[in-house]
């Protein structure tokens, strides 16, 4: 039998096929990554004990149906909220639950404001007519206040523990990053310490119908 060369497959349409697939994936692609503000809802507890919290340790934020902001019973602009929250949380006018004064606070130590970041609670209240956009803006500012304090603390604490020039957000990112070279155990300790020093105590009041 005569040996015949196998006929060459025509690859001219390869580009067309590839283009077709390419266009399909181009159209279906959504590049954005999910991001958002993470929160934890309080569990439903039937036997809730009433804990007495001193009024000065609560920072009330109310958003009414017209998206106006009432902070500690005074009307406030959204842009001033972060500074007010930082001032309240960082006040450190008294003792913590363990009876220690706040030695890392930079606040004015006003006895009429919060005792300790450990005790300070932000209470966020909204009405049914409040718009979601305004609610997220307020949440964002309050989380921003906590992050600002934590970042500042991280920059103070970092050099002592060997993590220079790293704020709290970067610390958390690095901790999650698999490629990061460094002592993760130690980093976790620092993160946990900052988290306990400035705990996020943000209570959301269920609106009354």
């Amino acid at each position: 039998m005569a040996k015949r060369a196998a006929p060459e497959v025509n690859a001219g349409s390869m580009a067309d096929i590839a283009f077709l697939l390419l266009i399909f994936f181009l159209v279906t692609t959504t590049m954005e990554k999910d991001s958002g503000i993470s929160r934890k809802l309080p569990p439903i507890d039937d036997n809730q004990e009433d804990v007495v919290i001193k009024q000065k340790n609560i920072f009330t934020v109310l958003i009414n149906g017209k998206d106006q902001l009432l902070v500690e019973d005074e009307l406030m602009d959204l842009k001033d909220l972060k500074a007010a929250a930082v001032k309240f949380l960082d006040n450190g006018g008294g003792l913590s639950t363990e009876g220690k004064p706040c030695d890392y606070c930079h606040g004015v130590k006003d006895p009429a404001s919060s005792d300790h970041p450990d005790k300070a609670i932000i209470s966020l209240k909204n009405e049914r007519e409040t718009s979601y956009a305004q609610y997220i803006s307020v949440q964002n500012e309050l989380v921003g206040a906590y992050n600002e304090l934590r970042n500042r603390r991280a920059l103070e604490l970092g050099p002592q523990k060997g993590f220079r020039d790293m704020n709290f957000i970067e610390m958390q990112d690095n901790y999650k990053d698999v490629k990061w070279v460094g002592n993760k155990e130690k980093l976790k300790e620092v993160i946990e310490q900052i988290k306990t020093e400035y705990p996020q105590k943000l209570s959301e009041v269920q609106e009354q119908n």
Partner: protein
Amino acid sequence: MAKFTKKKSSDLPAVNTASLPDIVFMLLFFFMVATVMRENTLMIENKLPNADQVEKLDKKDLVMYIYAGKPSRNYKAQYGTEARIQLNDKFADVSDIAAFIAAERASKREELIPFLTTSLKVDKDANMGLVGDIKQELRKVNALKINYAAIKGDVSKNKQ
């Protein structure tokens, strides 16, 4: 020198397109890898609010999505203009959330259930009444980890 002058032709040579498939394939692979297919067809308007303190949600398989917003133009006649909840591909009621969470949980491995996060993709024009109802429902089924989906941006953009 004669060697070079001899080859010189007057008309332009055609551009070689032999590597075109390679280039296209390269692009194709890039998009294939980067693609996240939309899981749900949105039947509602879903403009997310802006926030600058956002965290990224990784581990896509451990996220449940609840959408809410006004029905989009095609569905207005049928479902009205009031903001509604969408679960999977259907409009749903607040009372359907419990069943939805149970179904999502059943489809995951048991040891992963505590790590499930609920992502609330709520349109920025929705009001908090609806969101409050969703949150209350999530508390009832003990799905406490939530994430308010937001786009990274300045909060001042929310006012428009």
